[in-house]
Amino acid sequence: MNLTLNSVPQKTPDTVFRIIDEETVIVEPRKGMVTVINAVGSRIWELIDEKRTINNIVDIISTEYDIQPEEAKKDTLSFLRDLSEKDMISLS
């Protein structure tokens, strides 16, 4: 499925994770892969709740980090696209 602002991301059930001092360590046990994401990525990861659209997430990131909506949109889409390509999230 294409990633759009109206997409609703959800974490792949196979991922497990823990927040360590604002960074998030995400493990994909079957693949034996570990990904570490920084504070902003961690906040986006936290906001992925199977309810919020990407647009909702962009608005929150723009507000909380006091950055221009366009920049928040660009970075959030890029990050989520990466997670999607790695099958760490799915989209509906």
Binding site: D14, V16, F17, R18, I19, I20, D21, E23, V25, V27, P29, R30, G32, M33, V34, T35, V36, I37, N38, V40, G41, I44, I67, E71, D75, S78, F79, D82
Partner: protein, 358 residues
């Protein structure tokens, strides 16, 4: 804005380089990032080198375990290894694993595999383990069953390995090399490769909980290890760097903890002396007590007997094993010295171009 670091990992490996900043953070902040949990000391095998000799324990209930999992998750624990005894001697194991998965733990399982059925393997595959590690001592049933003290155990373990691999469960075959199975190394390595499993081996045996020392009767001599390494460790031809004098001696008690079947908390699996019991206090309170201060503060420079040893770069020493074997976690102990000296001799000989074991 968003930076990622990604790495293939075996879970808890010390070669976890890309995660150094996270590991350092968990070490500095005393976050028990990984935990070993001995769920039971019951076992259906009688391995001759086993250290878990105290079988009679008032084991934690399923509810106590679930409560503890919640506490561990809140403390920042991510990597969780369930071990025994034999973990499948607990009939609630699958429920425990499912709870742990639900609470976002990356789960590793140590087992002899003999109780794994098709149905259990299906559930393990569904849960999605980081890995399952099974002890296999030989490709020969006679040798394996002699070491486990249990006729028919080889067939059952082999079957479990097959069931897991058939379901693409990350499987590791692990094997302590003893006097009786050192010649089996190549067969085991080739078998693991053939079925897509990892293979790990070790020379170190640890003292049993009853104080006996299985390494005396069953372990390899320095000469045997030396000859083995000359024949099999050709790729390890570089001299490892000596440890930094100010480096911690290990992560035990800092970002690693261990829970026993009856709820005792210790610094790691190798430290058999408890610092508290989770039935009497929350883990966080036990973890934050002063009981672990000396271990947490120990540095390589504190290893008075070892810091000038010319084999320290090759030494597999473990503070918990040192404590168990010689009574002082900072002193030298024979098992580590044996491996360190054999490894040093072998690597120096390999580097100098000689391969004839003498």
């Amino acid at each position: 804005m968003i930076k990622e670091k990604k790495q293939k990992t075996e879970g808890f490996s010390s070669n976890f380089d890309p995660y150094q900043s996270i590991l350092q953070k968990t070490y500095d902040k005393k976050i028990p990032f990984s935990a070993h949990w001995e769920l039971t000391y019951k076992c259906n095998l009688s391995c001759m080198h086993c250290y878990a000799t105290n079988a009679s324990r008032n084991e934690l209930t399923s509810i106590e375990i679930e409560n503890t999992l919640e506490q561990l998750a809140q403390m920042g624990c991510l990597f969780l290894t369930f071990t025994g005894g034999e973990v499948f001697c607990r009939n609630d194991l699958l429920h425990i694993l499912q709870s742990a998965k639900h609470m976002n733990f990356a789960i590793q399982l140590f087992t002899n595999g003999t109780l794994i059925s098709e149905k259990i393997a299906d559930t393990l595959a569904e849960i999605g383990l980081l890995s399952i590690e099974m002890s296999l001592y030989s490709t020969s049933p006679d040798i394996h069953d002699k070491i486990t003290g249990t006729s028919g155990s080889h067939e059952k373990t082999i079957n479990a390995i097959r069931l897991c691999r058939k379901r693409n469960i990350n499987t590791t075959i692990k094997c302590p090399l003893l006097k009786y199975n050192i010649s089996e190394y190549d067969n085991l390595r080739q078998y693991a490769e053939k079925i897509g499993a990892k293979f790990v081996f070790d020379f170190i045996l640890v003292p049993a909980d009853d104080g006996s020392k299985p390494m005396i009767d069953h372990g390899l001599s320095e000469q045997q290890i030396f000859e083995f390494l000359l024949a099999n460790a050709g790729q390890k031809k570089t001299i490892p760097a000596a440890p930094n004098a100010l480096a911690p001696i290990c992560g035990a008690g800092s970002n690693v903890l261990c829970i026993s079947p009856d709820g005792n908390i210790s610094a790691c699996l190798a430290f058999r002396k408890p610092i508290g019991n989770l039935r009497k206090a929350p883990i966080q309170q036990i973890w934050n007590s002063s009981s672990l201060d000396s271990l947490r503060a120990s540095r390589y420079s504190d290893l008075v007997e070892c810091r000038t040893c010319d084999a320290i770069s090759y030494c597999p020493r473990c503070a918990g094993n040192a404590l168990a074997e010689c009574g002082n976690m900072l002193n030298k102990y024979e098992s580590a010295c044996t491996v360190a000296n054999a490894t040093k001799r072998a690597i120096e000989k390999l580097i100098s171009g000689g391969a004839n074991a003498t």
